[in-house]
């Protein structure tokens, strides 16, 4: 889709300048034609009243003519060229005057000559004008043809270029596509490799983290154990200090009491789990437990929750295996 757009786009964009170019060309052509018309009109209309000064004028004209049929830019200049024609006029009035006869003859001769000359000139002018006109038309035609040819060639070239461009573009695109695919493939491979690398790195990291976590847990457990052992000793000492063993005739008594503690070490409850069957003995145990206002417990909540939130004591007068 994108490729198609790309292919079409340059054409579209080129069609606009081309239209402007041909419009400019045709306008220029018309302006030139109009200019030529005006020039031609000057040539024809003012001449009958004017003196033979035309030669100079013609020279001027001739010099100008080749330049006249040229591009649009000269449009403004084309309107002004007639102005210099007026200037040469005063000059023919100045030549010296001969004697009357001579003058008359001469005048007659001159007049004839002038008429002849004039006729010739006129004829010549006419011919020249026709020729000029023909030449102009030829040039014009030629120019048109040339322009047309040029336009065609340009168009052709443009088309060729466009085609070439298009082909190139297609080729380029194809190449790009191929490259892209290659790149994509390469990317995929690279990505896969990277993913694998990443996965391996992650796995390694995970393993390392796991190892560290396990080590930390182990350390924590060890710490908890030492903390636990420390507080077991402290609690044991505290309970021992508060236990007043009643006199008993039976040395095999044993009472298990379960207690629940607050994290502050305060007693929530104490219940006989395994009675010795001797109320006084059980009572001494409860009394010992309840007389302790605060049990020594670890600050570490993990250790506390694990071991000391609820624990039991086995009270027995005789030493039992620890």
């Amino acid at each position: 889709m994108g490729v198609a757009d790309n292919l079409r786009d340059p054409v579209k964009q080129e069609s606009k300048p081309r239209a402007w170019k041909s419009l400019g060309l045709s306008v220029g052509l018309h302006v030139i034609l109009l200019g030529l018309f005006f020039v031609g009109w000057h040539w024809t209309t003012p001449t009958p009243e004017k003196e033979p000064n035309f030669i100079t004028a013609r020279l001027v004209q001739e010099q100008r003519l080749p330049t006249a049929p040229h591009p649009v830019k000269q449009e403004a200049q084309a309107a002004t060229p007639p102005a210099p024609k007026a200037k040469p006029k005063p000059e023919p009035k100045k030549p010296p005057e001969p004697t009357p006869q001579q003058k008359a003859l001469a005048e007659k001769k001159a007049a004839e000559e002038a008429a002849r000359q004039k006729a010739i000139a006129l004829q010549q002018a006419k011919e020249k004008k026709a020729e000029e006109e023909k030449r102009k038309q030829d040039a014009e035609r030629k120019k048109r043809e040339e322009a047309k040819r040029k336009a065609e060639a340009a168009e052709k070239q443009r088309l060729a270029e466009a085609r070439k461009k298009k082909e190139e573009e297609e080729k380029r695109q194809e190449e790009a596509k191929r490259k892209e695919q290659e790149q994509r493939l390469q990317n995929l491979v690279q990505q896969a490799q990277e993913a694998q690398k990443k996965r391996q790195a992650e796995e390694a990291l995970k393993a390392e983290q796991e190892r560290q976590r396990a080590a930390a847990a182990k350390a924590q457990q060890a710490r908890a154990l030492t903390e636990r052992d420390k507080y077991i000793l402290l609690i044991k000492q505290r309970v021992t200090d508060h236990w007043f063993r009643p006199p008993s005739t039976d040395s095999n008594l044993s009472t298990v009491v379960t207690i629940r503690l607050l994290p502050t070490g305060e007693l929530i409850s104490a219940t006989i789990k395994d009675s010795s069957g001797n109320a006084a003995f059980d009572n001494s145990v409860l009394s010992a437990i309840r007389s302790i206002s605060r049990f020594p417990v670890p600050d570490d909540p993990t250790v506390f929750n694990e071991y000391f939130r609820q624990l039991s004591f086995q009270f027995s007068p005789q030493g039992s295996p620890q």
Partner: protein, 438 residues
């Protein structure tokens, strides 16, 4: 019907399984073993009884109770001067105060004399300080001359309520005193309260009196008197003072010991040439010789079950303790530790014997666990003898020496505290603790 039963059984098993799983998943709970106590002496506060209308006796009954409980070695009473308050009714008790003083139990009460009967009326209460509850409330009445007995009854009740063991404070002691009067030795056989008070002389003699032994009903005493110049065994009724001579065989007549049922008596006689142990049927005075040995056999004592006896014999070369099964009359030696072990007495439960043990130059009271043979030395003075166990098995009285005088001392059978009976007698020896009696 059967299917339904099966279903029920299956359901039951499933429930059982889930319970056991639960039990398994439960964390192993911490179990701390407590095998030692701070002390065997329980702190107790016995507040002097109030006398609301001023009719109380001059004597402080509560001091008798304090002494009794202290003597047991199982209690340590609080000196009244340290008490923060002196409540006499439950409503006046602030547990916190007593807890502050480290007390576990509290006794309060009132005593007054009846307006009409002239008897003393005591109402007292026992509280558990740590568990903040009343354990006992009791009303007692007694005559004016029996106030001490009332105090011992209170001691017994309090002791029983707290320890679960019957108190032996209302029982009595028998002992022999020796005084020098006008250059002459005077022996007196006496009977007193367990605290040595209210002593009563049963027999006065210039000749030695030995080995008093209580009848199981605690009404009579058997003893050896040399009053005739020869040793003879007598039985005397305590209440009436009436007595009878039981034996005056040639030679030794010693160490009388009542059987648990009171029908027989063990004694040592040398009428057959050597000191042997005999059993006498008290009804017909028939003798049965129990020992047949060239060595001296003496100081026999009945096991509480009446089937066995223990005695001292030097058949091994020195005095040692032997036990005999009365049916088979087989004797086996019990003591092996030390060169001298003598004067054995069974504990009331028959599980222990108490005896005199010499270790080096010292004679001490020792205890042996009969099932294990384990021996424990209970006293640590240098010349202790004549152990006698209280009927509740918790206290032991024995004779020891202070300077040149012999005195009686009471200890807990656990070897705890030591209580000396008031030394108002010159020399005291041969103590015998009475049974509970009837």
């Amino acid at each position: 019907m059967i299917a339904g039963l099966m279903m029920r059984i299956i359901r039951f098993l499933v429930v059982l399984c889930s319970f056991s799983l639960l039990a398994q998943s439960a964390r192993a709970e911490l179990l701390i073993h407590i095998t030692k106590a701070a002390s065997d002496a329980i702190p107790i506060a016995i507040v002097p009884f109030a006398s609301p209308n001023g009719t109380g006796p001059n004597e402080d009954l509560t001091q008798i109770v304090r002494d009794d409980l202290d003597m047991s070695g199982n209690f340590k009473s609080l000196d009244p001067s340290r008490m923060l308050s002196l409540p006499s009714q439950g409503s006046q008790v602030y547990y916190r105060d007593w807890r502050l003083l480290g007390q576990r139990y509290l006794v309060i009460g009132q005593i007054q004399r009846g307006a009409t009967d002239q008897n003393y009326h005591v109402q007292y209460e026992l509280f558990d300080v740590t568990q903040q509850k009343q354990m006992l409330k009791s009303n007692l009445t007694t005559t004016a001359n029996n106030l001490r007995s009332l105090a011992h009854v209170i001691s017994d009740q309090v002791y029983k309520a707290i320890t679960g063991v019957r108190g032996a404070f209302s029982t009595r002691l028998a002992f022999v005193t020796l005084d020098k009067e006008g250059g002459k030795s005077v022996y007196r056989l006496q009977v007193s309260d367990v605290d040595g008070q209210r002593a009563q002389v049963l027999l006065k003699s210039t000749q030695p009196i030995l080995s008093p032994d209580w009848s199981p009903d605690a009404k009579k005493l058997a003893y050896v008197s040399f009053e005739t110049g020869q040793p003879a065994i007598y039985i005397q009724d305590i209440a009436t003072g009436k007595r009878q001579k039981l034996t005056d065989f040639q030679g030794l007549n010693s160490a009388p010991a009542w059987s648990p049922d009171g029908k027989d008596m063990l004694m040592t006689l040398s009428k057959d040439g050597n000191a042997e142990i005999y059993e006498m049927d008290l009804a017909n005075r028939q003798l049965t010789r129990l020992t047949h040995h060239w060595a001296i056999d003496t100081e026999a004592n009945w096991a509480p079950d009446g089937r066995q006896i223990v005695f001292t014999s030097d058949r091994s070369g020195g005095p040692q303790i032997y036990q005999m099964d009365l049916r088979t009359q087989d004797a086996k030696r019990l003591t092996f530790g030390g060169p001298y072990n003598a004067s054995p007495r069974y504990s009331p439960d028959g599980k222990y014997i108490y005896y005199v043990h010499r270790d080096g130059g010292n004679f001490n009271i020792a205890k042996m666990n009969l099932s294990t043979g384990e021996q424990t030395i209970l006293t640590h003075t240098d010349l202790d003898d004549s152990p006698s166990v209280a009927p509740n098995g918790r206290m032991l009285i024995y004779c020891t020496h202070q300077g040149t005088k012999s005195v009686l001392s009471v200890i807990s059978v656990d070897g705890g505290s030591k209580y000396f009976l008031p030394a108002k007698f010159g020399d005291v020896r041969e103590p015998a603790w009475s049974p509970f009696g009837s």
